[in-house]
């Protein structure tokens, strides 16, 4: 009887997560686009719902809620569904929508989509070879084969994002790093931008005028006959078009300059807003958190053992929430930056794939941070994977990502002040 009750609870929470994913999709991701194929929205919401359910199961595990047999059942069920979605459904639809965008392949859409999916499966399978992720006693078609590969991809992604985030978050929020931007800096840059635009306009007017004169002269040229007429037509058109290409080159250079000035102005405005934000109460709170987390991240970079498993578990909880929020925000920004009305379907599905793999590998890695008595259920459900490999792999990629982010931000920080500051 308790099994039925537990299942009802799980189902309700899954429906809630599904609804949240649906709303997020409609209100945030697809704010400016029309949803023409609802399957994309459904697939995204399903991936989100089952990913969140996994975290929920971990929390239930630790709290001891629901009976252990129904927990075990739901773990297995959830895992199968999410693997099905990540390995079969989402890649197939990505292939299908990519193929629909290409005009040449319109007629045999399904066939080409299947071909794309088989290519994906081949590379996905090959991925497992260089990594020592399985113990030899597993068969070829076991669930462990699939999880291990999803785990490798997801862990690499997580480590890259965490490494960058660990360095970028303190850099962004800590006021120590905020460059001093005054209003006059911004005004000066805006003035330069408008001056550049005016120069572009005047040069384009010259081009238009020259073209018109050439066109009119061209009409007159046709009427001119005789030897001198021919010579004149050859020489004057040549100088005309040479002049034109010269001005056009200048215009291209000015347009490139205007784009750079625009981006720099946006950057300065964003910095100015961050400075203003840091003076507010909310800003100060996040500044403090920034210091706190930067210390935790530095500690994570350089040290390996934990001094208290339960405190680290609380931190794990906080990290889950902030990483889900951070991931959704990052995905949204990324989506706005690169999507267009044609490719929006493909990009959302790719984001759903990344999100699913990220969450699955979070569960894998979280095993390390969980108190010993709760690790058993994860080990039991996920089979005997070489968990230590994943942890070492994560640490390596995290370190590489963090160090390259430090280098990258250092270079960017050093370069910027010379350009903007008025002396």
């Amino acid at each position: 009887m308790s099994f039925v009750v537990d299942s009802v609870i799980m189902f309700t929470s899954q429906v809630l997560f599904f609804g949240f994913g649906w709303l997020f999709f409609m209100r945030q991701l697809f704010k400016d686009y029309e949803v023409r194929q609802y399957i994309v929205q459904v697939v995204f919401s399903i991936t989100f719902a089952f990913s969140c359910t996994m975290f929920e199961l971990i929390i239930f595990e630790i709290l001891g809620a629901l009976s252990s047999s129904s927990r075990y059942f739901h773990w297995k069920f959830n895992l199968y569904v999410i693997l099905l979605v990540l390995i079969f459904v989402v890649p197939f639809y990505i292939g299908y929508f990519v193929v629909s965008n290409i005009r040449l392949l319109q007629r045999q859409k399904l066939l080409f989509a299947c071909m794309v999916w088989f290519t994906f499966m081949y590379f996905f399978w090959k991925l497992g070879d260089p990594f020592p992720i399985l113990s030899p006693k597993h068969g070829i078609l076991s669930i462990e084969q699939l999880i291990s590969r999803v785990g490798v991809i997801g862990v690499t992604l997580m480590a890259l994002l965490s490494g960058f985030g660990a360095v970028n978050c303190p850099y962004t929020y800590m006021s120590y790093f905020l460059r001093n931007v005054t209003d006059s800096d911004i005004l000066a840059l805006e003035r330069r931008l408008l001056q550049t635009m005016d120069m572009i306009v005047s040069k384009k007017k010259r081009i238009a005028m020259t073209r018109r004169q050439m066109y009119q002269r061209g009409e007159d040229q046709n009427k001119q006959t005789g030897f001198w007429g021919m010579i004149k037509s050859v020489t004057s058109t040549q100088t005309g078009s040479e002049n034109l290409s010269l001005i056009q080159q200048e215009v291209d250079a000015l347009e490139e300059l205007s784009r750079q000035l625009f981006l720099e102005t946006v950057d300065l405005q964003a910095t100015k807003e961050r400075i203003e934000y840091s003076k507010t109460f909310q800003g100060k709170y996040f500044n403090f958190l920034g210091y706190f987390f930067s210390i935790y991240c530095v500690w994570k970079i350089f040290m390996v053992k934990f001094w208290s498993q339960h405190i680290s578990f609380i931190l794990v909880g906080i990290i889950i929430v902030t990483s889900i929020r951070g991931l959704l925000i990052t995905l949204t920004k990324f989506f706005y930056a690169i999507s267009s009305s044609k490719s929006s379907n493909v990009i959302v599905l790719v984001l759903a794939q990344i999100m699913g793999m990220y969450f699955v590998s979070s569960v894998l890695l979280m095993r390390m941070s969980m108190p010993l008595e709760y690790r058993s259920i994860v080990t039991e459900v996920l089979g005997e994977l070489q968990f230590n490999f994943y942890h070492r792999w994560f640490d390596v990629i995290f370190l590489v990502s963090a160090l390259s982010s430090i280098l990258f931000l250092y270079l960017a920080h050093k370069q910027a002040p010379e350009k903007h500051m008025t002396l």
């Binding site: 805006e190 625009f262 946006v266 807003e273």
Partner: protein, 228 residues
């Protein structure tokens, strides 16, 4: 009848509706082969003849400022974009006929541009909500352009055109529906070309056009919206 030395028209609309293609078509009389993302603002110049063939013939330059970006951009992008909205003589609002949201966003685009207009005749909208009366009194001429007309199937056309007719009433503006990859929509003599030159006349000579007023906006004759 005062006419202006410098005529600046903004081209506004969501990302991907076809503003760059439209501007290229209007200024170079050619179809844009490789549209790419507009970063910041791209300007082009259209040579317009006024009273061609008469002794009063004059050649004017009309600057078309194609401002890139989406209405939901970060506030830093919006504040930077605002520098392009100064001393504007006319606004072309571009929307994608296959995407209803791009049409809805035009209300926000027009408010963003008109709110920032620093010239004394600019409309000052206080609470950021759409108010039809203020659009009726708005001295800055607007033109509504719907793109990707060829991608609408025949049976949906009348529904789309009804929707855009409501839109043009709300903005108190004329509307043109076309396909930016086909120059025939704006060929000389079509009703689209007539509406376009009327719009540019209004932009150039604001006081003159206030005298004549909007007289024949409401005739939506669906047949005339095709090119022929």
């Amino acid at each position: 009848m005062a006419s202006l030395d410098r005529v600046k028209v903004l081209v506004l609309g969501d990302s991907g509706v076809g503003k760059s293609s439209l501007v290229h078509l209007l200024c170079q009389n050619q179809v844009l082969g490789n549209p790419s993302w507009t970063v910041g603002c791209s300007v082009d110049v259209r040579v317009q003849d006024y009273k061609e063939g008469t002794p009063d013939e004059k050649t004017y330059y009309i600057e078309l400022w194609d401002v890139g970006g989406s209405i939901g951009s970060a506030s830093s992008v919006k504040s930077t974009r605002a520098v392009f909205y100064n001393s504007v003589n006319g606004i072309m609002l571009v929307h994608d006929l296959t995407n209803k949201k791009s049409s809805q966003n035009l209300y926000r685009w027009s408010l963003e541009a008109l709110n920032k207009d620093s010239s004394p005749t600019g409309v000052i909208v206080s609470n950021g909500d759409y108010d039809r009366e203020q659009f009726a009194e708005n001295p800055v001429p607007l033109l509504l352009i719907g793109t990707k007309f060829d991608q609408i199937p025949e049976n949906k056309r009348s529904e789309v055109l009804t929707r855009t007719a409501f839109l043009s009433e709300d903005f108190n503006a004329e509307e043109i529906n076309l396909d930016c990859t086909n120059p025939r929509y704006l060929a000389a003599g079509t009703s689209n070309a007539v509406k376009l030159s009327r719009f540019f006349d209004k932009v150039r000579n604001p006081e003159f056009c206030h005298m004549t007023g909007f007289t024949d906006r409401k005739r939506f004759n669906f047949k005339s919206l095709h090119y022929d």
